[in-house]
Amino acid sequence: MSTNNVMENVKLTAKDFATNQDVRWCPGCGDYSILAQVQRVSPDLGIPKEKFVWVSGIGCSSRFPYYMNTYGFHSIHGRAPAIATGVKLANPDLSVWVAAGDGDLLSIGGNHFIHACRRNIDMKVILFNNRIYGLTKGQYSPTSEKGKKTKSSPYGSIDFPFLPVNMAVASGATFVARSLDRDPKHLQAMMFRAAAHHGLAFIEVYQNCNIFNDGAYEPLTDKETKADNVVVLEHGKPLIYGKNNEKGIRMDGMNPVVVDLSKGEYSVNDLWIHDEFDENPGRSFVLAHFSDLKDFPTPIGVFRQIQKSTYDGDLFAQLDEVTKLKGKGDLAKLFRSGNTWEVA
């Protein structure tokens, strides 16, 4: 609990969460929007400022903690989830957030990411997915599409990309969402939801790198095309999209099918109703897989939120339990455990 908190009754604003450091991302970078949304929602999360810890690895987006006037740790490539785990286990009272790029989190740090998900550490992981290596100046990343021509793949990448949402779901993350840098309201809503979740919350943010991969998400963010290419997931609502809400997704057995609602063959009642709280992860996989299917919209929103005990919660519960069972540790007694003898 926050004691001696002089700020306690003063309402903070986004500005209170900004540092005096010049933000050094390229002008036009999607990271600016993500930073702005985080600073906007932070005062309203009900968490004292001194309890926020932002941890990052290496990459453009990993500069993030320098711009947040909270505790922060800009660490080494890929290791942010592991460092954040240590922070949370040292002091579970802290609100621990990870900012990571696609190379950082899914390539060099893939192992830490899946294990943080598996353990359900109570922390928030924000993936800045621009599908490119920016800080090293333009090589393909583990989320770059196959065939992509970059500086290190002049004849096209022959790597298949990861679907980060699927990785998170398969690894046991208990909150999984996706949003867009160019949809501030939606992004803010996702931040609020993630912050309120108890357990590992993962948000994949599609983020534009206007220098090395400009327009990667344009069909999803451009006013003209967005409605036809994005389906917004909302709990209890049908999967419906299109300029005039004329398209929808229905399930045909295990397979999703895009249907045209304007022809009379199908109505809203035939559509897939989104259930965020479905214990079965199967539907989340199907949803995430849309981006691999031709003519399917890209879902944004909360794919999945389930409740499970957290590693940090269980760790401290076990410490308490054993202490109750054995009594508080007595060092002198511990030294003398096993057989001892006296030399006179």
């Binding site: 926050s2 001696n4 908190n5 002089v6 700020m7 540092t19 450091q21 400022k49 001194e50 309890k51 810890v53 941890v55 290496i58 903690p65 320098y66 947040m68 909270t70 505790y71 922060g72 740790f73 800009h74 660490s75 080494i76 290791r79 592991a82 460092i83 954040a84 785990t85 240590g86 922070v87 949370k88 286990l89 040292a90 002091n91 009272d93 802290l94 192992n111 830490h112 294990h115 760790l315 076990q318 410490l319 054993v322 202490t323 054995k326 009594g327 508080k328 540790g329 060092l331 002198a332 511990l334 030294f335 003398r336 096993g338 057989n339 001892t340 003898w341 006296e342 030399v343 006179a344």
Partner: protein, 615 residues
Amino acid sequence: MAKDFEVQVLEDVTIRFAGDSGDGMQLTGSQFSNTTALFGNDLSTLPDYPAEIRAPAGTLYGVSGFQLHFSSLEISTPGDSPDVLVAMNPAALKVNLKDIKPGATIVVNENAFDPKNLKLAHYESNPLEDNSLAGFNVIMVPLSKQTAAALEGLQLSMKDIERTKNFFALGLMYWLFDRPLEPTLAWIEQKFKKKQIYLEANQKALTAGYYYGENTEIFMTRYHVKPAKLEKGSYRSISGNEAVALGFVAASYKAGIPLFLGSYPITPASEILQELSNFKNFGVKTFQAEDEIAGIASAIGASFAGNLAVTTTSGPGLALKSEAIGLAVMTELPLVIVDVQRGGPSTGLPTKTEQSDLLQAMYGRNGESPVPILAASTPSDCFDMAFEACRIAVKYMTPVFLLSEGYLANGSEPWKIPDVDSLPEIPVNYWKDKETYNIYARDENLSRPWAIPGTPGLEHRIGGLEKAHIYGTVSYVPENHEFMVRMRDAKVKKIQDEIPDLVVAGDQDADLLIAAWGGTYGSVTEAVGNLRKKGHKVAQVHFKYIHPFPKNTKEVLTKFKQILVPERNLGQLSKLLKSAFLVDVIEFNKIQGSPFKSSEIENKIISLIGGENVN
């Protein structure tokens, strides 16, 4: 009726138990050690086991051994060559025969010397019959058959009966060396309280072994080794890994902050993780991470958030942690890194001992990345050095290396139990004051404030990028970079002001100084002691602090005409001494996965100062 046996009083005995890796030799050896410790002897042990968990039975590479040296005097090594070898099968005999003393007693399980086992051990003829063991005192015991006879009537499979024969052998050795059965009987009682039949079987086998000695005439003499006159106090037996774990718990207690261990299992360091995972009622948090890097990364995170953070590993794991150690150097966070060294490079000899990671600890990172290095000298010294490593880490806000090695980690000896109140305090003062706060301002020790997340008004960012002096913001200013590189180096050198000076043991006026470090302590101490008893003049210093070196190192080194540096690597301490002090040293290197025999060091010294070789 007990017969009258001749009882011979010995000063010290070295005994080695050897068998298949499934024969329970480590258990047998450690039971003998515990009983011997309780009896009051000084002792030192050397477990030696293969990297394979259960290598095929009867093979040469599946042989597991446990050697212990016990004495009525103070001793410092597990013994050069066994006086007694207990060999459970032909492979165990073959592997160990080369090590034992001429005329040594060999106790064999004759039932195991069948054609199959002889073939597996590549014996062309039975060594028990072909006179190849002439010159040894061979005692043939039908161990398997006698154990089976002792357990008659119990509903046990042949396999289970076979598995208790180590207790029969142990009982026989207890009789031979005049040790009580009670400690092991009590241990069995505790261990098998939920499996009554095994409890009964093991106790019966142990007792039967003892009375087999008493009632047969296979041994005409029993041996008695009187209790040693150790320093007054309470003692227990402790291994190096146990001692490291206790040292950390003690440091956490004295610092008044929780201990956090981030670690990934690796031979021969895993026991530290296992030990610490028991101590939850001391608030000890153990995090078995997904890999070596996450082990140290989580510890760094925990340190940032105010815990006493440690990570434990061995050579290959240390290689993986290098980048993160650099991060701890840059962020100036307290952290202890334990490297329980093993044979390298690469996977090397996982279960064998070596001291070849010194230069890795010293230099194995990018950039100028100074880290203090401490090295434990004996199993019980692991306690003191683990505690000391934590104290230095917190006081100087720095990562600190503690180098141990397989031989110290698994070996055990009596440990004089310290008084909790006599341990030094480890003051921890998290920074609280907003007004005077700068994250890279420095105190008189050149160390920066430890301001932990959750403290209002001290929000700050740290990281791997170069930091501006005092303010800790990112700085690419060239002069600042050089200043900070020199500052980090100066901070580590500053530790020299408080670490103990080298103490020259032996003859101050000798021409020859033996300078050693880490686990070589025992062999050198014994060799120097033996030679001085014979009238040779020899001096000895031992390095427990290697980075920085003690303040008087140059003064000591330049006092002697010759310096011999025995180490189990290709001259790593030698290189450091030569480059730091421009002194010439004579290297003496052994890289065979085992400690030096004291006789090897004695003979090397003899070759330098003259005299008669020892065997």
